[in-house]
Amino acid sequence: MKRIRLGDIIIFLLSLVIIVASLGSYGSLSGKPEVRVQAEGREWIYDLSVDTIASFQGPVGATSIEIQDGKVHVLDSDCRNKVCIAAGWISASGQWIICLPNNVFIRIEGTTQPKPGGVDDISF
């Protein structure tokens, strides 16, 4: 090649570095934490990192969940005891909330930072 100069080589190497750095994006695909909701005999999936509000139907009415700041909780429910609402927020993989009367089951799956001190924080 005629007259390739030093600057060319530098720019070329810099470009390679950038490309290799972009390959890092392939790692983060699998195992992203998601919220899986089972209701009405079907399943819904939501990304835990995307703020959403969603509502589901059941035998006693509607149950809605809210995902915010990487946590999810039951926003409102038509069941009598509202135990599911009292359960508060969950954010770690494996944690779940259930509204038994309305047949809504919410669970977090995928890899998240493990929380210290136990998996379930449903309180009665």
Partner: protein, 178 residues
């Protein structure tokens, strides 16, 4: 056309000529069938690279503008999302290429300039596609997109370098550094 004449009219016409070359090349590229629509060769950037040695700063910016507008009009994309990609890519690449050429001319040949321009353009477009089109998934097409850009820009740069050395037309217009 006697180019060294400082007549403004002649110089402006010259910019239009280069812009027309860019238009011609982008039509040629548009007609080449590509397996994946997002992999671009960047033929239309050749006049932008070659023009670096011929145009003053303001004229160069004008050339970039005409290239984007012309391309947008011909492909009919001028009022859609897509022209944003063209604008972003062209602004990024012409700015970087101009800077590299202006200040590092002694250490960098047109090959390096071409690579720098292509990387700048592709990165700008990837960022744009992340926020407008694909969302976080845009990162997935980044590596192959960048690799294709690197290879094609090297080839383009080699051609530009050869052209600048061998073309009679170019050499008869040489006016000296910008």
């Amino acid at each position: 056309m006697t180019y060294p004449s400082k007549s403004r009219q002649v110089r402006i016409e010259f910019v239009a000529l280069l812009a027309a070359c860019a238009l011609f090349l982008s039509t040629v590229e548009y007609l080449i069938p590509k397996p994946v629509p997002f992999m671009r060769i960047g033929l239309a950037n050749l006049p932008l690279i070659i023009g670096l040695g011929l145009l003053k700063e303001k004229e160069y910016m004008l050339l970039a503008l005409l290239k984007v507008l012309g391309q947008g009009l011909v492909t009919g994309t001028i009022f859609s999302y897509i022209v944003l990609f063209s604008i972003a890519g062209t602004i990024a690449s012409t700015t970087l290429m101009y800077i590299v050429y202006r200040f590092f001319n002694r250490w960098v040949s047109l090959i390096g300039v071409s690579i720098a321009g292509a990387m700048a353009s592709n990165i700008a477009q990837l960022l744009l596609s992340r926020y407008l089109l694909f969302g976080a998934a845009a990162r997935l097409i980044a590596p192959p997109f960048l690799v294709v850009g690197l290879i094609s820009s090297i080839l383009l740069g080699i051609f530009a370098q050869q052209f600048v050395q061998k073309s009679q037309w170019y050499n008869s217009l040489q006016e000296g550094p910008l």
